[in-house]
Assembly symmetry: C2
Homo-oligomer: 124 residues x 2
Amino acid sequence: MARATGCNLETIRYYEKIGIMPDPPRSTKGYRSYDDAHVKRLKFVMRSRDLGFSLEEVRGLLGLVDDRSRTCAEVQIIAEDHLTDVQAKIADLQRIERVLSDTVARCTGDAAPECAVIDALLDA
Amino acid sequence: MARATGCNLETIRYYEKIGIMPDPPRSTKGYRSYDDAHVKRLKFVMRSRDLGFSLEEVRGLLGLVDDRSRTCAEVQIIAEDHLTDVQAKIADLQRIERVLSDTVARCTGDAAPECAVIDALLDA
DNA sequence: TCTAGGGTCTGTAGTTGATACAGGCTCAAG
DNA sequence: CTTGAGCCTGTATCAACTACAGACCCTAGA
């Protein structure tokens, strides 16, 4: 399954340990055997993680996948909360980017021991 | 010093343990006593962390503060590397934001068990 | 003088999301 | 029959803290 999905082997076992992935059936020698449903679930997890959902959020989303009697409204809440988080992080990073690029621009970059970046950090 | 800087008490001791902050002199009963230089250094660390520098990067910056014979060019390298990282993170998050907001927009948000977000994660 | 409350001290464990072994078993090819 | 690869479990490690436990210490009020 690691090869099929590109997911790290240890990560799959980690997901199993924390209950994100189910315990798969084992061969007589104890080897895990996975089927298409496992692969599909893992891909779901990977895509969710790639979109920045935390494992707890993924757990919530999986609960909604597993129990299709639950509603779109529940999913919407999780996704919108996450979207808000992402937007806040973007705003934060953009602020940082502004400060950094302003300061770096004032850097002469020469061999002198005076530096605009250090000064900004010392005196801001 | 925690009160003076707004830094968590445990965090200050953590910085001391890992060598970001120097071991302060102690009273006879073993209480730490800090002076203005400590406060200034801690504020430097806090501002650097706030700008997203890792503790290792902060350590590098502090080295340049401590040894003013070193150059502006060295600082510029650290700061520009970090700026590149920040810009990459912003781009990543903006991609995520696009996908998320597109998907959430297709969410009906009603009581039905069908959900555009789940479908996107399942079938993408 | 006693006591209650807050502060400080050290040291250790927990957090998130993995990743990296160590040490052992199994399996297929040459 | 060996060699190399793969799998198994379990534990340790990473960043950057945070949260205790259990022990002191210090000051203010009764």
